[in-house]
């Protein structure tokens, strides 16, 4: 079979196969949008807490007022005891309890430390993060003011002669060293901006693997004649070109339009992303043909491909930092195109890196394209062929 024939035939089978269309067109079109809707809130704001204020003082009210004013936390209710507050958490009306001790103001006024107790529900790390950040911010801002006696008579401030000092003196004492924090690339710390780029790359890989698996599975089920030795390379090239051509517009939509639609950071150069896409698609295609050897039934490919999506997301090192991987899993993660594809895409598109910054991923993808290309060709040539005698009689 010539390259042309094989190209045309593959495109035909893609467009006439409902299952392939579902996974290679509908899923890449709809799933990213769905994910974007799920995560587009970006951050958890106004996490409800119950407060137990045993102090009932001016300063404790000030603390709670500032806490309620933070974007992260909302005071959902007041309770008189910790047990009562716990009921609120139990019914999921609140995700934490803030307890202010009875000697809160007294301690602060007499120059002793006081401890605010914060109980966090740990069902989600984001609740914990929001509660801890908001309380830390409030305590630090009040601490700075207490230091210079702005919160009322403070014996220490008075003793050190700062109380009633000039504004400049006060400012220096409040912040002898100032610090600034800059969040790079994902300035709001948004969850969608963090997770979705990796999900997009994995979605391209997984749907393409499913598509290839469905097509090779169908061919094997029908007991289609394996290509003869000479033409197997040409056939394979034709199929590859068809799949890659088919996936170029889909990838443009997934990697280019979706971030635009949902305002995810997208500062990459489209041509550089295009350059990355080429080895990625080739590597995924070759991997797809290689694992297409396993299933004898059309549907088995679901079992193999679908469940790996979540492990692959973790292995990409985006959610769980790659530097904390045990070395075995680090090396294991390197064999999947999605690991390099996701990291390179994030660097290009979210972090504005250039091709020279993603040399490692880029060459790794080409290396995979070549290695999986060889395995794919061997599979087409030997494995598919070996099945020939077994499938032929069925056909007759």
């Amino acid at each position: 079979m010539t390259i042309n024939n094989s190209f045309a035939q593959t495109l035909r089978s893609i467009f006439t196969d409902g299952g392939v269309l579902l996974f290679c067109v509908v899923v890449p079109l709809v799933y990213p949008v769905l994910y974007a809707f799920i995560y587009n809130g970006e951050a958890v704001r106004e996490v409800p807490v119950v407060v137990v204020d045993d102090s009932h003082s001016r300063l404790s009210r000030e603390y709670l007022r500032r806490l309620d004013a933070t974007p992260d936390v909302r005071i959902a209710g007041h309770a008189t005891t910790l047990e009562e507050a716990q009921e609120g958490v139990k019914s999921r009306d609140a995700y934490g309890v803030v307890y202010i001790p009875s000697d809160f103001q007294q301690s602060l006024m007499t120059g002793r430390q006081t401890r605010v107790q914060l109980y966090c529900d740990m069902s989600g790390m984001l609740y914990y993060k929001a509660l801890l950040t908001a309380n830390t911010d409030v305590s630090l801002s009040m601490n700075a003011e207490i230091k210079v006696g702005d919160m009322g008579a403070n014996p220490i401030a008075a003793a050190s002669g700062i109380h009633g000092g000039t504004p400049e003196q006060k400012a220096t004492l409040q912040h002898p060293v100032r610090y600034e924090w800059v969040a790079l690339y994902n300035a709001t710390g948004g969850f969608a901006s963090f997770l979705i780029p990796a999900v997009l790359v994995i979605a391209i890989q997984q749907t393409m693997l499913l598509g290839i698996g469905l097509i090779t599975g169908t061919r094997r089920e029908r007991g289609e004649k394996a290509p003869s030795q000479w033409s197997s390379f040409q056939t394979l090239t034709g199929i590859a070109l068809a799949f890659i051509a088919f996936y170029i517009p889909i990838s443009c939509y997934v990697l280019g339009v979706v971030p635009e639609m949902f305002n995810l950071p997208h500062i990459g150069n489209p041509w550089e992303i295009g350059c990355l896409l080429l080895p990625f698609l080739v590597a995924v295609f070759n991997l797809g043909v290689t694992i297409g050897v396993v299933p004898h039934k059309r549907e088995t490919v679901f079992l193999i491909v679908v469940f790996t999506s979540v492990p692959l997301l973790f292995l990409s090192g985006v959610s769980w930092p790659g530097s904390a991987f045990p070395s075995f899993w680090h090396y294991f993660s390197q064999i999947f195109p999605s690991t390099h594809g996701a990291n390179a895409y994030i660097k290009l598109n979210t972090m504005g890196a250039h091709l020279r910054d993603i040399r490692y991923e880029y060459f790794a993808l080409w290396a995979q394209a070549i290695v999986y290309g060889i395995t794919a060709w061997l599979c087409v040539r030997y494995v598919y062929k070996a099945k020939e005698p077994a499938t032929r009689p069925e056909q007759q």
């Binding site: 995560y39 587009n40 984001l126 690339y185 979540v310």
Partner: protein, 391 residues
């Protein structure tokens, strides 16, 4: 029914696909997740340092930062540009910047400004390095105040009270060590198992349609006595589900025993309660799977449905990104995923240690999923006979 049950067991034992999806693949994931996040909390994340001042005071600061648990300074950069490029390449997750003249300003009580940059594209790494770098900055400011106060003759104890009058004592309920594996594996793994439970249920029914063995199945269900059409339907459906259910329960229980018995993840309600919740969860997955294949009686369509549902449940169950921050319509859809209810039950019982009665709506929801196949109990026989496999 016993004939169908035995026939199904024989089929499972002799088909590699079932072994793959009940034993090999799920337990591969168990090993992957629990060993990948073995450390619980990532430590020694690579960070950079740009020290333009280069005095003994700033070097001291650098050493202190290196001593923090989450950060490890892997590289010093000569300029901000270089450090930023290193972040872009992914060599470091964050860097700390000390401008020239910091020490001099500090000595002259002129409030120098230091800064730190964290790559929030990697959210987990960024939060941890941010925490350390902020703490470091506060401590530096504190040390400066202390030396001023010493000069004024105030003793250290009183200075400490002045530096940090209000202290926050944080108590993370149920997961005091902030173990990420506890937070993630406890829900991700049941989610992976759920995908396979859905697959297996859909597969086992769909394959009978595809391979035209449904007559054999119905004949098997008719073997004893002279049952009516409904009875045959019931026997065929529940005989199949019971056989698979038994094996799925074994897989589910193994997971629970591994997580709470062997790894000793927090389980305040005790292992038996979690076993019970898992049992209910498995039944819910089976119910949903049977519902899927009966609604879309074709192996391919059924599996597609199960795949899309199963993969979405990880995101929509609210374990990583809370449901309360999702749009209202997504919040409504979230209740249609068994994993969501399992997650809430797990939090209620194992993590928070509250009685099951505090979470009864989720128990009811899972029971509802488990009862779904009853909708098709009468029609099952007809579905099996009438649907021809469409390739």
């Amino acid at each position: 029914m016993i004939e169908v049950f035995l026939r199904e067991l024989r089929r499972i034992a002799t088909t590699p696909v079932y072994w793959l999806s009940l034993v090999v693949a799920p337990f591969f994931c168990v090993v992957l997740f629990t060993t990948l996040m073995d450390s619980g909390l990532p430590s020694d994340l690579p960070v950079g340092m740009v020290d333009m001042d280069g005095t003994s005071t700033t070097r001291n600061l650098v050493r202190n930062l290196d001593a923090f648990q989450n950060c490890r300074i892997v590289e010093r950069y000569a300029s901000m540009q270089e450090a930023r490029k290193a972040v872009q390449r992914g060599d470091i997750y964050a860097f700390y910047y000390i401008p020239e003249g910091t020490t001099q300003k500090l000595m002259g009580q002129d409030s120098p400004i230091v800064s730190f940059y964290t790559n929030h594209q990697f959210l987990v790494a960024a939060s941890l390095t941010y925490k350390d770098m902020r703490m470091m900055s506060e401590l530096t400011a504190g040390a400066a105040t202390r030396s001023v106060m010493r000069g004024k003759g105030v003793d250290d104890g009183r200075t400490m009270a002045m530096l940090q009058p209000i202290v926050i004592d944080c108590h993370p309920i149920g997961n005091p060590s902030l173990n990420y594996s506890v937070y993630l594996s406890n829900v991700l793994l049941p989610g992976v198992f759920a995908i396979f439970f859905l697959f297996m249920t859909v597969w086992s029914i769909g394959i009978e349609i595809k391979e035209n063995t449904s007559d054999e199945l119905l004949a098997c269900a008719t073997r004893r006595g002279t049952p009516g059409a409904t009875a045959v339907s019931l026997r065929a459906l529940f005989g199949k589900l019971a056989a698979q259910g038994l094996l799925m329960q074994l897989a589910g229980w193994t997971l629970v025993l591994y997580l709470y018995g062997y790894l000793k993840y927090p389980c305040l309600c005790g292992i038996p309660t979690m076993l019970g919740i898992m049992t209910l969860f498995v039944l819910a997955c089976q119910g949903l799977g049977a519902f899927m294949i009966c609604t879309l009686p074709g192996l391919r369509l059924g599996l597609s449905f199960a795949s899309l549902w199963g993969v979405l449940s990880f995101s929509i169950c609210g374990m990583s990104f809370p449901v309360m921050a999702m749009p209202a319509w997504v919040q409504g859809i979230a209740t249609l995923f068994p994993l969501r209810h399992y997650y809430l039950l797990y939090v209620n019982c194992a993590l928070d240690g509250w009685p099951l009665s505090a979470a009864w709506p989720y128990v009811l929801a899972l029971a509802g999923f488990a009862l779904l196949p009853l909708l098709y109990a009468r029609k099952f026989g007809r579905i099996m006979q009438q649907t021809a496999y469409v390739a």
